[in-house]
């Protein structure tokens, strides 16, 4: 499975800090001068037109490009999505909506486990904390950023970057942050900078979700494997002023794709490290990845055992456990890929060649300097800072403060201090343009589960002490005379941050409210803040700034040498991949491109995670068992692409990406088209399941007609 919302976040937002690699690498494909056939996560203004014409005789029209752009969307916390009707209907994965489904669940109905089918559009329930961003326009702001950063280093560089981003985003949002979201994004690791403008929807409602058994049939054992039999879909609806939104959309193709057909994905790959210098990959392999892998493995064991405590604990921990197990498969794939000396040797060779090219000409040497010399001390700093930084400042695992409650406290404490500053002086994530998403999180009615909170906090504090040592000054300050178990029990018992009203009052109260709060979680966050903030500054100035500076120099050298016929590393912004529907050869055994319903029933044992619910068992006789279910294609995708539509050359939706095969796990570092496969649900299966299994004819009709039954919504 592609990394879920949780794990995309791990890999993307915080992983970007944690792994110290997502935002760092160097210009595209140093190690492979030309992208191989079907390789690439392409930006809209640089589609691989020549390859498409040569290989498929296909030329994307301006209209095709515009429609693909404006029908594409993304869930702010991770995952991709698309509009599939003119009345705001949105298609994404079930596992991308885990958080909404968990949060809506209560004693009366478990939305995640049992699924949900809306009775009628007006009764669709609102997801408590979901933000959907529909792509509107993309523009190039490279010259502005280059001008702002020229000649800056270290802390000056960090500050200049934050100030320039703040100014560009503010002007783009135009004072209406409720309607628009604007993100400045460094492509080619700073070689180019783009501004992505999104229409922001914070009123997103649930239309349909299958039961978890069908959505995640095969569970963790089948995850990242193929053949596969999952209906990993959730339909949502974007609302505007209380009514369904009207937008561009991908018409639904009821026939699905054919074997060998050219197909595209339009989605938001989270992060890749294909451009990263070898020295950074070695640091990842030898220091960071083992530490991350160990943390996630242990957390997996904790949550597995926690979930065995009964129905309620299992339900509470389900989303978290899924995210952890999904990430673990990804990290296992990384470990295997990075253990391959050939891959690293090829990258090293390409890097050496670029270095020679620069050194061969005094003009070039003057222009690009020695990026590797800029990089070297940043790696020393990264090695030194990694553990304290992730444990004390990290907000996703690995971290020292687990659970949601401390996260709220930290957001409140830091948010109060940051908002008191001019926008340009703030940390990126507290710019005015970002505040609506933060407020949605703080105000979320999603339930907090105290026992789970206590478990996650006790676990992470134990890891904090383990990682830094019992004699570390920060550890002594945080724990005092208490054990992690005692401290977490006390904090969770006495904090009031589980209540969104309390959180919003503190948010609105600003620095004065924070300073006088006696809530123990706020008190702890206040204590940790100077330590964490100090580490953040060191990390930004000593690790990130020089690495981006080196990357920019390398990007410019690379452009000068090879032009822009390459794609940038993934940045959780919209990209198009192209490929064909195709199986692969697995040790001499041919894996077919498609599975069908018959295969699902063959694989069902009656025991979790191979158990079918009653509606599926009952529907067996009515379903055409030859109906295509899931399929594999050569599209180059990665975590964050979950929920991407698969579209054909006519721009119609023919499938829904939800996973990659096991060989796709090396995709963070390299693309191997012989075995790397994307995995999607066929639109044929989606329609058949809606009609025959879930008996939701209205939704099937909206998908095939492109609008709500009875006309264009009720607006």
């Amino acid at each position: 499975m592609q990394r879920s919302s949780s794990s995309v976040r791990a890999g993307l937002r915080h992983g970007a800090l944690a792994l110290g690699i997502a935002c760092l690498g160097i210009v595209a494909l140093i190690w492979a001068p030309v992208a191989r056939a079907e390789e690439g996560m392409w930006t809209m203004d640089n589609l691989p037109v020549k390859q498409l014409q040569a290989q498929y005789g296909f030329t994307p029209s301006a209209d095709w490009i515009k429609r693909v752009t404006q029908s594409s969307a993304r869930l702010a916390l991770g995952c991709s999505a698309s509009f599939v009707s003119g009345d705001g209907l949105v298609m994404t994965n079930h596992h991308c909506a885990n958080e909404c489904l968990s949060e809506l669940s209560g004693a009366d109905h478990n939305f995640m486990q049992d699924g949900y089918s809306s009775v009628s559009q007006p009764r669709e329930p609102k997801c408590p904390a979901m933000e959907l961003d529909r792509l509107d326009t993309i523009s190039d702001v490279t010259p502005k950023m280059h001008a702002a950063l020229a000649g800056k280093h270290g802390a000056d560089y960090t500050h200049a970057q934050e100030a320039a981003e703040s100014e560009i985003e503010k002007s783009c949002v135009g004072g209406d942050a409720t309607t628009w979201r604007c993100d400045v994004v460094a492509l080619y690791h700073g070689g180019r900078t783009a501004l992505y403008r999104y229409r922001r929807y914070q009123d997103v409602r649930l239309v349909f979700a299958p039961d978890q058994n069908a959505a995640f049939f095969g569970g963790d054992p089948d995850n990242f494997n193929f053949p596969r039999y999952d209906l990993d879909v959730t339909f949502l609806r974007a609302y505007e002023n209380g009514h369904p939104a009207h937008t561009q959309f991908f018409p639904f193709d009821a026939a699905g794709p054919k074997d060998g057909e050219l197909v595209f994905t339009s989605g938001n790959p989270g992060s890749t490290s294909r451009e990263a210098p070898v020295a950074q990959l070695q640091l990842l392999r030898d220091l960071e990845l083992p530490s991350i892998f160990g943390y996630y493995s242990t957390l997996d064991g904790v949550l597995w055992e926690y979930s065995r405590g009964g129905v309620a604990p299992a339900q509470d921990a389900q989303d978290e456990l899924f995210g952890v197990e999904n990430s673990l498969k990804v990290f296992t794939g990384w470990l295997q890929t990075l253990a391959d000396p050939k891959m690293l040797a090829a990258k090293q060779q390409a890097e050496d060649s670029l270095r020679k090219w620069i050194d061969a000409n005094p003009h070039r040497k003057a222009q690009y300097g020695d990026p590797w010399a800029t990089l070297a001390p940043s790696l020393v700093a990264e090695r030194r800072l990694f553990t304290p930084f992730v444990m004390l400042e990290g907000t996703r695992a690995p971290r020292g403060f687990g659970g949601d409650l401390f996260g709220y406290a930290k957001m409140l404490v830091r948010g109060a201090a940051e908002r008191a500053k001019p926008d340009a002086d703030r940390l990126t994530e507290y710019h005015d343009a970002k505040l609506p998403a933060l407020e949605a999180q703080l105000g979320s009615s999603a339930p907090v589960h105290p026992r789970l909170e206590q478990t996650l906090l006790a676990f992470s504090l134990t890891r904090l002490r383990q990682a830094l040592g019992a004699d570390d000054a920060s550890v002594k300050t945080i724990l005092g005379k208490q054990s992690p178990e005692e401290l977490s029990a006390h904090l969770v018992l006495f904090t009031h941050l589980g209540d969104p009203k309390v959180r919003m009052a503190l948010w609105k109260g600003g620095p004065a409210a924070i300073a006088k709060s006696t809530d123990p979680m706020i008190v702890l966050a206040r204590t940790v803040e100077p330590i964490a903030r100090g580490l953040r500054d060191q990390w930004d100035n000593q690790v990130k700034a020089p690495q981006r500076e080196a990357s920019e120099a390398l990007a410019r050298a690379r452009f000068a040498r090879e032009g822009t016929s390459v794609y940038p590393d993934a940045t959780f912004t919209q990209r198009v991949s192209y490929g064909t529907v195709k199986g692969w050869d697995e040790n001499g055994h041919q894996v077919p491109a498609f599975t069908n319903f018959a295969g699902l029933y063959d694989r069902a044992t009656g025991s979790d995670p191979f158990k079918l619910t009653r509606p599926w068992l009952d529907a067996k006789s009515r379903l055409d068992l030859a109906t295509r279910f899931d399929f594999a294609s050569t599209n180059d995708i990665i975590g964050g692409n979950s929920g991407s539509p698969v579209i054909d050359a006519q721009g119609r939706a023919v499938g829904l990406i939800f996973d990659g095969n096991i060989h796709s796990l090396g995709g963070d570092f390299t693309y191997d088209g012989t075995q790397n496969r994307a995995v999607a649900v066929d639109t044929t299966a989606l329609l058949a399941a809606l009609k025959t299994v879930y008996r939701n004819q209205a939704l099937a009709d909206e998908l095939t007609s492109g609008h709500l039954p009875g006309g264009r919504g009720k607006s």
Copy 2:
């Protein structure tokens, strides 16, 4: 902490199979032609006399050697020990007696948590399943083994080896396996073969154990760290015919060692891989170690969360959890050491030099052949077989069948089949000479904890399916239509193997009883047996036999080139190390060699694991706080050395090894005397704690006088 009984077993008995490395490497120190000062785990017949004379002016006398040999002992399941009175008093670590302390515990008294002080010798309670082996003689059987193995390969080699070992061991035991234990041990990975004869004691009783808070003060956070404040000791007594045994022993030195003093350890280092060829270390680093590390990490999380379920679950899981966390620190150290490219490069260089030396001379080429060519296909087989082998045949983690109950079932099923064969045709561990230890395990009155069993089994079956895939034929055979959770619940609920009488009846009933048993655990073990046994044969013949064959050839080449001034890799047999009591420089900060009681009280926070019990708090005013507590020395030790006595040049006990510092974790692969330190309890602290804290004057008197109060025992 040195790997405990549990973890030594992981690293030694099964790890020896699992890691595919313990029994494999090549002859000593290819990569470092001469052992560095204070490096080495020396055999009694090859002590580093020249170094000792040159550096310390000390020459071990024949009497010294004999007394050290015959006062040394080992716990059969892992760990070292020593005799410290003429009346069978044995000193080892608290963590080495965990299993006994756990097994003796019940609702009325938690021996492990609360400790125990025997009221009088006749009332000492028997450890349910402990075997203590006191070293008697060591003899060289190299010529016999060479003759038996000459010209053999693959399955023939495996069979010839088992037959020769059987014959040598049988003749050594002389028909009295109750009194004698004889082990054939390949030193220098087959370059030499030695026969170790032990006096076997299966009646071992508990004399004294401190409370766990004192024995393991600082817990996992302080484990493998120094400065340290642990009283990690347990005193046992060996009985012969119901009376205390009378043996050689190490007199107790009440003054302890001095800073800079020459000290020795006599113990049983479990396994090292210092002689292993680089290709094997790479396989360990890239494939096996990440898999083992992931398994242990997840199991750590499971047991951590399990233990939070209350006092009883915590008590039941305590021994297992300790073993897992201890092993995890070791594996983390291994990952770090193997990530150092310099270490591997040095080993590669030494290996290349040996290869050139062989190739330089046609006579040598004829004599030693090409050991690397013999090795190469075995590594391909190891890569292919590793996962199925450990999951289906492994009896210690990582494994597919966790808990004790399946272990009993497997021992019964395999034991019945093996015992029906002539001794020479059996697997090594079912030779007649080994049966008494197996029977002690099967007949043990140690309690089985059903909930813990079910957890461990459900977890390991989940990992089995994860590792081999849901479509694997063995997985399908084992699980059928059930989930791991369902299967484990059924097995644990309906098996009767928790009862030692049932186990012994099946053992005595032999193949007929096994064939007709309907006990579900026996039925499962019968189902698994052909698969597991098949993998064992493939592993033995395709991996181990060629690796030992290659190692032998390399050992002979190495002897011819460099003589025997080197020590063999550790084999869980008695070795002597020498070194000095000494601190070290940690990033410019000097760590002193000794801690004292004052430091203990300073470090106590009142919260686990830094909490002192009432007797310690009460004793503070009566103790001389300047008393030396723990100390560091340069002795070269490894897991399995836990419980080794530290002795001075006069052969008196001055301390008790219980751990190494964090730098000692690289010791599996290399020894670095600048920072690698052994960690021991000072005999001064042992006596002070016995007298002043635990008020056990009788035991203190036995230690200082060398005999039980009132004369030599009651025999």
